[in-house]
């Protein structure tokens, strides 16, 4: 066994241990350690990815001395490594970009606890991406939920408290549904490991037994994870949580946490229940409908909001709708498009949230559009980064968002029938709505400010600039290298099962 194969285990353990140590050290060290740690995780996973590309097969990693159905296990493939790289870079940028804000918005003795939570989100993200065990997935879902609740209310005011409470209530409902789903799965198959469940499920499916329970299990997993990843009707906690919490928190929540849950759902559908069973299941139709509705409703809510970060939050709802709709097409192409969209959106949204906070800094700490006029001149870098990310989400050709929409369209064509037209129509309308609200924002940013406007005192944050530039560059790269990345994703998906 080559040493590089230990990378996932090392990453998980190192980030857990650093979370514990960070709670005991001064805040400054803890902050920089988080940045360094996420860079380290990204670098190690690049190494792992090159190794995987050479061998071109996935492997399982025993957590302990006992093989598959008895002990815990990780499973490592191209897709997981790729996701880990992108998400850890996103965490790096969010931690770096929000660092100055963190210092001013969180009370001093508690700042290192914030870094603890970031480390734990990193650990939870890696474990959820790599785990091959349903119950481990559940445990890390809970860690992630608690940590993100703390992230939301880290900047302590009324709004964040209330939205953290709402978030907790919603996501505990989700956890309850997920636990029941795991219990039913266990009682049907007698396993907790994904591959063994898949074998038993295939046998059950072939014999036609337990058809109702299997459908209900898929439904419960979908609803549970849908609640946690803020799918449309369950997104009520999201707007305040994203728009009033500290920028690192909103950036990480929107671009890493929700996407990790969705990746786990893909894993459950694709690897645990099995693609054959999924394709015959009606639950995915519901998923498609929910996705389409979310695409519309999120965009409409975004148009209706007068607040920059709230608009970004609602745009996240719409983008999550894209991902679910793509998955609901029940085709491999749909899953590829959804995964690519996850990557692109996570890059764009994180830079967008950091830029939004920089822009409101130069506008007297206000997020309202009427105060943001001319902010693009006052903070040129943030204006450019915001516009590029917005264009990427809207789908302007060379950028990533365009390519993902293209893939969604192709998947819809491959599916045919009524779905094809619904999906294409939804894509068109939703893109139009995206154009509307993002164009309005960009125009606002580049209009001359009001006559009575005075430049407020503010401290420019060099770190936020670096983070924004990094994410924007990554976004451009994801657009230009779209073909290789999509190839990687389809190769990863092929070795996923």
């Amino acid at each position: 066994m080559a040493f590089v194969q230990n990378v996932p285990f090392l990453c998980i353990m190192v980030s857990m241990v650093s979370a514990v140590i960070s709670s005991m050290v001064p805040a400054r060290i803890a902050r920089w350690w988080t940045v360094f740690l996420s860079a380290l995780v990204a670098a190690l996973n690049v190494w792992l990815l090159t190794f995987l590309l050479q061998t071109n097969e996935s492997y399982t990693y025993m957590m302990g001395h006992f093989p598959a159905p008895w002990g815990n296990e990780l499973r490592v493939g191209i897709l997981e490594a790729l996701m880990t790289i992108v998400f850890s870079i996103t965490i790096l940028a969010s931690a770096l970009g929000g660092m100055d804000k963190q210092q001013s918005q969180i009370s001093r003795p508690k700042q290192n606890l914030f870094s603890v939570m970031l480390d734990l989100i990193l650990a939870g993200m890696i474990s959820m991406l790599y785990t091959n065990d349903l119950f481990t997935g559940y445990v890390f879902i809970e860690i992630m939920t608690l940590a993100s609740c703390v992230l939301i209310m880290a900047r302590q005011n009324g709004r964040t408290m209330v939205s953290a409470t709402r978030y907790m209530i919603m996501s505990l409902l989700g956890s309850g549904l997920i636990t029941i789903a795991i219990t039913i799965t266990y009682s049907l198959t007698g396993h907790l490991l994904m591959e063994n469940i898949h074998e038993s499920m295939a046998a059950l499916h072939a014999s036609g037994e337990y058809e109702v329970p299997i459908t209900v299990v898929v439904g419960l997993f979908f609803v549970g994870i849908g609640i946690k990843s803020a799918l449309f009707p369950f997104h009520t906690w999201l707007a305040d949580a994203y728009s009033y919490s500290t920028p690192s928190a909103s950036s990480i929540l929107s671009s890493v946490v929700s996407k990790t849950y969705i990746f786990l759902l893909i894993k459950i559908l694709y690897r645990t229940i099995g693609f054959e069973i999924i394709q015959e299941n009606r639950v995915l139709q519901i998923m498609f409908v929910f996705g389409i509705v979310a695409m519309m409703a999120g965009s409409i809510d975004a148009i209706g909001s007068n607040d920059l970060r709230r608009m970004c939050a609602f745009s996240s709802v719409a983008q999550i709708g894209y991902i679910y709709a793509g998955m609901g097409l029940k085709l491999e192409a749909g899953f590829v498009a959804a995964l690519y969209h996850m990557l692109v959106h996570s890059l764009a949204k994180s830079s967008m949230f950091i830029a939004a906070s920089a822009l409101s800094d130069v506008s007297g700490d206000s997020k309202r559009f009427s105060d943001l006029r001319g902010a693009g001149y006052r903070h040129k870098m943030a204006g450019v980064c915001f516009s590029v990310s917005a264009m990427s989400i809207v789908g302007i050709p060379p950028l990533g968002g365009f390519i993902s929409k293209l893939y969604f369209g192709q998947a819809a064509f491959a599916y045919g029938g009524a779905h094809q037209w619904i999906m294409l129509l939804a894509l068109a309308v939703s893109s139009l709505l995206n154009v509307l609200y993002f164009m309005r924002t960009v125009i606002t940013l580049y209009r001359p400010p009001r006559s009575d406007f005075q430049l407020p005192e503010h401290r420019p944050s060099r770190r936020a600039d670096i983070a924004m530039c990094m994410m924007t560059a990554a976004n451009l790269l994801a657009g230009f290298l779209a073909q290789p990345i999509v190839d990687l994703i389809s190769r990863g998906l092929a070795m996923f099962v």
Binding site: F135, V139, E142, T145, L146, C149, M153, Q156, N157, G158, R159, M161, V162, A164, T165, M168, I169, L172, L173, S175, G176, T179, I180, T183, Y186, S187, L192, Y244
Partner: protein
């Protein structure tokens, strides 16, 4: 009818668990008092653990701790659900603690436990 009672008998534990889950869920949705919401959550969690624990039971076997030196799977119940329930309980303890702490903070700020009123008051604040 006989068939119905037979099915009920076979699944008594699970049915009770599902009803409890429903009670918890309804409490969570219908009560506006935050403490009662947390109680509802706990009832829901407990229902899931009842469901999980009842999976492990096998008629006529004992707890999975070595007795009389017999190491045959015929003698003991399934240890897996017990372990899972243990994990679940720890998670629910942590979650309840965090929720209660949030409730305390909200109470200190708004002097009420009614979540709807808290939301209304929060909207009145400009922030």
């Amino acid at each position: 009818m006989e068939n119905f009672w037979q099915v009920m008998n076979q699944h008594l534990d699970e049915i009770v668990a599902v009803i409890l889950f429903g009670v918890g869920f309804t409490t969570l949705l219908l009560h506006r008092n935050l403490i009662k919401k947390i109680l509802g959550l706990n009832i829901m969690d407990t229902a899931v653990y009842l469901f999980l624990a009842s999976l492990g039971y096998v008629e006529g076997r004992t707890a999975p701790i070595l007795t009389d030196g017999i190491t045959s799977a015929e003698k003991y119940i399934n240890p897996v659900p017990s372990g899972l329930v243990l994990t679940g309980i720890v998670v629910s303890v942590s979650v309840s603690a965090l929720m209660l702490a949030l409730t305390i903070r909200l109470y200190r700020r708004y002097h009420t436990l009614d979540f709807d009123q808290i939301t209304l008051m929060m909207k009145g604040e400009d922030d």
